[in-house]
């Protein structure tokens, strides 16, 4: 197939309809950025949930060797631990539980702060500095008083952390941001689809003479539609690149520079999650422009 015509048409089409293409690119850019943001926030929420568990969890800290809690008289003994686990197991409010060892707790801290501070001859902490804990999953977030009162005061219990109180506002704001971004993106995606449709209509009108002759002399439908499809692809690619840049800026200035340093107590998304979001918009962008193009070229360029 001779593609010289296709490419010269592509260049001409992009120039001829420059303002429409810019409108499509800008709309795509903003909507894809918001979609990418939604994907990132979703991963952030998942990451936090992996680390802390869900809102249905409460954590029972067991006494460690030099515990600051007044309830502790020394490190929890095997008998005390067994008694606590037995109470948890029998409680009807408990859906399940997990006994976290000192080593597990240590690994979590290393992951959060970075392992380099725990290496060498003078580490910041060792596994022995970490408390053991029981992570309890509730059947119902509202039914928790039975288990907390049953466990509180048992020998070997240093304290109880109610995850619902800590996590609710964090999950709440992450979710609100996520749905805000995705909701706004949905409207912009619709606008992008309509803009692409209008652009095609204009382009088909501007080329109606050529298209009429092409049909008459027997050019294939694909050949006629190819400049339109390539235009759609080019605008999508520009939109995706811009959005990927904006997301990169968000990752760097929004998370890496600020939050990740100030708010070390929770794990933050990184490069891996960024590429997942970029992958998602790299798929979505071309779909958003190619889909209306395919539908409308079938309509306007019918043989």
């Amino acid at each position: 197939m001779q593609l010289r015509y296709v490419f010269s048409e592509l260049g001409q089409g992009l120039r001829r309809n420059l303002s429409m293409h810019l409108a499509v690119i800008l709309t795509l850019f903003v909507s894809l950025t918001l979609v990418g943001l939604g994907v990132l926030l979703n991963q952030q929420a998942n990451k936090a949930a992996d680390h802390w568990g869900s809102q249905l969890q409460i954590t029972v800290w067991l006494c460690k060797a030099e515990d600051s809690s007044a309830a502790c008289t020394g490190e929890v003994t095997d008998a005390q631990r067994d008694a606590i686990v037995a109470v948890v197991e029998e409680n009807p409010e408990v859906a399940g539980y997990h006994l976290e060892t000192k080593e597990e707790a240590f690994e979590k801290v290393k992951e959060l702060v970075g392992p380099e501070r725990f290496e060498g001859p003078n580490p910041a902490a060792t596994a022995d500095d970490m408390p053991e804990s029981v992570w309890i999953e509730l059947k119902d977030a509202e039914q928790f008083e039975g288990i907390t009162s049953a466990v509180r005061g048992l020998d070997g219990v240093s304290g109880i952390r109610d995850m619902r109180e800590t996590l609710k506002p964090i999950y709440g704001s992450i979710n609100a941001l996520k749905w805000g971004a995705l909701g706004t993106a949905a409207f912009l995606v619709l606008a992008a689809l309509l803009l692409v449709g209008n652009t095609i209509r204009l382009a088909a009108f501007a080329r109606r003479k050529e298209i009429g002759i092409m049909r008459l002399v027997g050019a294939s439908t694909l050949y006629i539609a190819l400049p339109f499809l390539l235009e759609a692809l080019v605008t999508a690619l520009v939109g995706v690149v811009l959005a990927a840049g904006a997301l990169g800026a968000f990752m760097y200035f929004g998370i890496h520079e600020r939050t990740a340093d100030d708010l070390k107590f929770m794990p933050w998304i990184g490069t891996g999650e960024y590429w997942t979001a970029v992958g998602a918009i790299a798929l979505l962008g071309p779909v958003l422009t190619l889909l209306p193009t395919l539908v409308l070229t079938r309509k306007y360029l019918k043989v």
């Binding site: 001779q2 010289r4 003479k209 009429g212 049909r215 008459l216 027997g218 050019a219 050949y223």
Partner: protein, 229 residues
């Protein structure tokens, strides 16, 4: 080459069909005039051959294929065997004469070397050698129509369809175009021409098919425009 078997084409919202039970057989290499008043069905006939329309009933055969049943992706290939010329030339104003003719080959994917050979050859055939670099608006109406004929014929189609090709031309220029179409016909190309031009039809003495209200009312070899012969 072209066969209509009881072909009817009706348009939604119109009481009378554009073509009504038309049966016609046009052999390879024939020259046929399609005459009749406006609205008699000439253009409908031509569009059915091009498969721009599908017949409502009956069968249309072009080059041995029943084109009503042709899958739509095969329609472009059918059209490569048919050249088309219109009253209004339909040249691309921003392309030179050569580019206009070459366009028809480019868009069906012919190689550059084919185009380099065929375009000047065809321009010479239609009497436009040396004018390949002109723009269409620098040419007279007759010359523009020659470009259109060159574009229709450059791919050496089996059939040439002309819809009132002399409708915008003065009589002297029209004669030139007719000579050209006759020359193309002599290469073995079937020519079907719809026209209102009585003088030309009478002069050429070719087969005449007359349509009225979508029906064939006369089919005469070596015919004339009016029914008096």
């Amino acid at each position: 080459m072209i066969r209509f078997e009881k072909v009817t084409k009706s348009y939604p919202g119109h009481a009378h069909p554009g073509l009504d039970q038309v049966s016609v057989d046009i052999e390879k290499g024939e020259f046929v005039f399609l005459v009749g008043s406006s609205g008699s069905g000439k253009t409908t006939f031509l569009r059915l051959v091009l498969r721009e329309y599908k017949a409502t009933s009956g069968r249309v055969y072009v080059a041995g294929k029943e084109i009503n049943r042709l899958a739509s992706w095969k329609v472009p290939r059918l059209r490569r065997d048919i050249g088309t010329v219109f009253q209004d030339f339909r040249l691309l104003p921003n392309k030179t004469v050569s580019e206009n003719v070459a366009f028809a080959l480019q868009v069906i994917g012919r190689s550059r070397s084919d185009i380099k050979k065929l375009v000047p050859e065809t321009l010479e055939l239609v009497g436009l050698d040396g004018k390949g670099d002109r723009m269409p608006d620098e040419l007279s109406g007759g010359e523009q129509q020659r470009v259109a004929v060159a574009r229709a014929f450059v791919n050496r189609p089996m059939i040439l369809i002309a819809d009132e090709p002399t409708g915008n031309l003065d009589p002297t220029t029209s004669v030139g175009i007719m000579k050209l179409l006759d020359r193309i016909n002599r290469t073995g190309t079937t020519v079907v021409m719809a026209t209102h031009d009585a003088g030309i039809v009478d002069q050429m003495r070719k087969r005449v098919i007359e349509l009225e209200h979508g029906k064939v009312i006369r089919d005469q070899s070596q015919g004339v425009y009016g029914a008096q012969a």
